[in-house]
Amino acid sequence: MSEASYTPLTRPKMAARVARDVEEGWYVNLGIGIPTLIADQVGDREVIFHSENGLLGMGPAPAPDKIDPWLINAGKQHVTLNKGGSFFHHADSFAMIRGGHLDLCVLGAFEVASNGDIANWATAVDDSAPAVGGAMDLAVGAARVWVVMEHLTKEGKPRLVKSCSYPLTALGVVQRIYTNLAVIDVTSRGFVLRETVPGLSLSDLQAITGAPLLVEENSHG
């Protein structure tokens, strides 16, 4: 049971792992942080990226000499628009989100509970002026909500928990979690382990996970 026996995924590799499960034709919103990296990893599949500030068909960052100051994403980064993209206002943009038109939203999180609750906006109960942005709308609106995050906090505490300790973003919405160590589905029975990095045993993973990990019979563990 040595930590050296397995290698946690890097952030780009985590993004690549999520990207593998993104299907052609999906409309996808990517949160700030690791989720943003997914866009570059979908390869030849045509995936339409949505940015809540009014873009569909968001493309990669422009070359430094091609920056268009009017074209930013929700993370305030300069982006491009792919052919067939469109612009719309905030109410229409969140109609897409809240109305269930996005096939997928990938969010970062501080914690996810085994009932699918997510906490990803306020870092503490007494945080006086946290910035929620579109996180709560995205979490309740998309057809699929996936979370990508480190398996543990910097202090070594589990982020997959029985019940969130941080202020909640939404109740029971997360369907899948990608960490640097594993892929876990959130089911009506709780966390179900789908895969781990090579060399990491279920018991080792369970030891650093704050809620039971189930394994289904036909799981690719």
């Binding site: 052609e24 569909l56 052919k83 067939g84 897409m96 038109h101």
Partner: protein
């Protein structure tokens, strides 16, 4: 590559279950998806609920669908108009249910369905018989009724121009209910007069982004204005 174009009206309509709710774009004869309505007639689903501003005229299109006994219930703002003979006969005979919805409430209920809003309050119809049985509530001393979202299983849309991603523009008063019905339909299918390459429609001018659209059939039955 995403390609929402299909080759036939039948393919556009796809499978429609009996009892489905169908949203039909158009106002008067403008912006009506006539070919798709014909396709729905061909397809055969029955016991339908139809949502449309008007209840059909003459014996074609919506009127034909009704005449064939396929529509159990219709929601519209303006059922009776010149030529709505089929509807009126069925209605008098008790063979079709009618829910009259004020036009603005109809549009807003459709948008609400598309925007994930289950219910909202409106001053429209307060104190009238169209508000009977509806929850009423005061805000700042004014009376409002609660109206609920009106989603559809299938939306039939007529567009002026479409690309393979399902981005749409409309023409003049042909826009009408089409954009909100495209939002409100679980599946939205489009007949488009013209087609464009992806990127050919200025992204600032797309009225219905492709996210709301599932299938498009190109029906160049003529630029009526040309």
């Amino acid at each position: 590559m995403i390609d929402k174009f299909v080759r036939s009206i039948a393919e556009a309509i796809g499978a429609v279950a009996d009892g489905a709710t169908i949203l039909v774009g158009g106002f008067g004869s403008v912006g009506q998806p006539n070919a798709l309505i014909e396709g729905l007639i061909e397809q055969g689903a029955k016991n339908l609920t139809v949502v449309a501003n008007n209840a059909g005229t003459g014996h074609t299109g919506l009127a034909k669908l009704m005449e064939l006994g396929r529509v159990r219930r219709i929601l519209c703002s303006f059922p009776r108009s010149a030529g709505s003979v089929v509807f009126e006969e069925l209605y008098r005979a008790g063979k079709i249910e009618l829910e009259i919805v004020p036009q603005g409430t109809l549009a807003e209920r459709l948008r609400a369905a598309g925007a994930g809003i289950p219910a909202f309050f409106t001053p429209t119809a307060v104190g009238t018989r169209l508000a009977e049985g509806k929850e009423e509530r005061e805000f700042d001393g004014r009376r409002y009724v609660m109206e609920t979202a009106l989603p559809g299983d299938l939306a039939l849309i007529e567009a002026w121009r479409a690309d393979r991603l399902g981005n749409l523009t409309y023409r003049e008063s042909g826009r009408n209910f089409n954009p909100v019905m495209a939002m409100a339909g679980k599946v939205a299918v489009v007949q488009s007069q013209h087609i464009a390459e992806a990127g050919e429609i200025d992204p600032e001018t797309i009225i219905t982004p492709g996210i709301f659209v599932d299938r498009v059939v190109h029906l160049p039955y003529g630029d009526l204005a040309a």
